[in-house]
């Protein structure tokens, strides 16, 4: 079912932009939080119509949210008897724009339904509702799932040529979304040559990248509150969480060895 304010139903449906019901409202407030593992939707349904509320109280109808990710062909329907509820789903099932459509759906046959708020145009008859038919439809909304998880750790680090640094000198800056590594002309030349071959990349991974990520993890251990809002911190934290590793329970070099998939093994083909 797709939200369409122009859809005509042969029975009254409470919607924000029609007058099937007079003076009644169905709306939802959401709070969506997403990590690389889980999307949590906290929903608060607001329904004023006593006739529909009675159906929910008597378990003939439920509050529902239809969550759809077009890009991953994923759709889940969450239901609740309560007007406030928390719904959870795996982030890895979703991608791109995720739509949320709120409904009140009939669960058991409702016979002889009536409400004083129903527009007179529907006449004075009583209504019959079958399971799956809707009593109310809220305005849809959406949120997005970003591509951060997909990014390799190297993508959060930028190597920057810094004039004035002497031959073997380099330094790390963490106070922005990407980790900036300032390097001397000599190191930059080596890095540029190395990144053009597989073996060069693997040597860089085990030298500069490994050191940089260890430093970043070390800093996160000590002061995640200071750096927590930067993109690099979110990416590293999410990847650590995804591996089921507790940031505080292991030494930084061990965490990074796991994060980079045992990088020393990549040197086996070179030496």
């Amino acid at each position: 079912m797709k939200f369409d304010s122009q859809s005509a139903f042969p029975y009254p449906v409470l919607r924000s932009d029609n007058d099937d019901y007079i003076g009644e409202e169905f709306s939802v407030l959401y709070e969506v939080s997403a990590t690389n593992e889980l999307v949590i939707i906290n929903a608060s349904f607001n329904l004023t119509c006593s006739g529909i509320l009675e159906q929910i109280d008597n378990e003939y109808a439920i509050y529902g949210l239809l969550v759809t990710s077009n890009e991953t062909f994923e759709q889940q329907f969450f239901e609740s008897k309560e007007s406030t509820a928390e719904f959870r789903m795996s982030s890895q099932l979703l991608r791109g724009r995720i739509s949320i459509e709120p409904y009140i759906v009939v669960k058991k046959i409702i016979e002889n339904y009536e409400s004083l708020s129903i527009n007179n145009e529907f006449g004075s008859g009583l209504f019959l509702f079958e399971p799956g038919e809707i009593l109310a439809q809220g305005v849809p909304s959406s949120f997005s799932i970003s591509r951060d998880f997909f990014k390799p750790l190297q993508s959060i680090v930028k190597i920057n040529l810094k004039e004035g640094l002497v031959k073997g000198e380099w330094s790390i800056k963490l106070e922005q979304d990407h980790i900036i590594v300032d390097v001397s002309q000599h190191i930059h030349n080596t890095y540029t040559r190395a990144k053009n071959s597989k073996s060069g990349q693997n040597i860089m991974l085990n030298s500069i990248w490994f050191s940089v990520i260890v430093h970043a993890v070390e800093v996160l251990k000590k002061s995640s509150d200071i750096y927590g809002e930067y993109v690099w911190a979110n990416v590293i934290t999410a990847k650590i969480n995804n591996l089921g590793v507790d940031l505080d329970s292991q030494d930084s070099y061990k965490i990074v060895t796991t994060l980079l998939n045992d990088p020393l093994l990549r040197l086996g083909d070179i030496f």
């Binding site: 079912m1 239809l66 991953t72 239901e79 982030s91 890895q92 750790l153």
Partner: protein, 244 residues
């Protein structure tokens, strides 16, 4: 098992722009020298079993069901989120599954047709690319959807989904049906029952198209996703019964 890799976006774009220049490589060469510096290994636990993937062949037919099972088993830990990324599928069709792709979708001799063919089957732009045209993505997504079917083995579900290309299109590419596991499950279970009969009546184009159309209409008026699985199954069954 080795960790799954992907191609940098720049490399994907360069390959796509250079199809015509690389036609002979697509026909009989390999891409190692062209993509060597553009391969990135994914972090995490996504592994490929090269033995299983190397076992993908067509043997003169299509063998989509068998190869879908091999892709499903041979790529371990891939999530739907990642499986929508063209860089992964382009990497596979230009490396380990290059020969399979050539075998399944033989490149036409006419150069103009060949460019269009390669663009469709070696790359995977948009929903159509992953679901229908990319030689590997289409098999992975068929298995992913089929895995959602309750009460049937993956193979039985794939048989019902892939037995006829036009039926697959009618089911998998119709959002109302393919996105909802409860509706999709019901359709595949009913199709599977029909597959086991001698007549296989529900695979008749007219019957399947009529049923999907009616089902789409019903799902526009009732929220089937909010109903019990058994209730949805009965509705879907009645639709097929009416259409054959």
């Amino acid at each position: 098992m080795v960790t799954l890799s992907y191609l940098k976006q720049e490399a994907v774009d360069t390959l796509r722009d250079g199809i015509e220049v690389n036609l002979e490589v697509y026909r009989s060469g390999n891409f190692e020298h062209l993509i060597e510096s553009s391969v990135v290994t994914l972090n995490g636990d996504i592994l490929i079993d090269e033995f299983l993937l190397n076992g993908m062949h067509c043997n003169g037919g299509e063998r989509d069901i068998e190869n879908s099972l091999l892709v499903s088993q041979g790529i371990e830990g891939l999530t739907p989120y990642l499986a929508r990324d063209e860089r992964i599928w382009t990497y596979l069709t230009h490396t380990i599954l290059l020969n399979y792709t050539r075998e399944r979708w033989p490149i036409p001799e006419d150069d103009t047709k060949a460019v269009s063919y390669i663009s469709s089957h070696f790359f995977s732009k948009g929903i159509r690319g992953v679901m229908r045209t990319n030689s590997v993505a289409r098999l992975w997504w068929a298995a992913h959807l089929s895995n959602k079917v309750e009460g049937l083995s993956l193979k039985d579900s794939l048989v019902a989904l892939l037995y006829r290309q036009d039926i697959r299109g009618a089911i998998a590419e119709r959002p109302t049906i393919s996105r909802s596991s409860v509706i999709f499950s019901s359709v595949i279970r009913i199709m599977n029952d029909s597959y086991k009969t001698e007549e296989r009546e529900l695979f008749n184009r007219k019957v399947s198209r009529g049923s999907m159309k009616e089902l789409n209409f019903i799902a526009g008026a009732r929220l089937l996703q909010g109903m019990q699985e058994k209730e949805v199954f009965n509705i879907v069954k009645e639709v097929f019964d009416r259409n054959h």
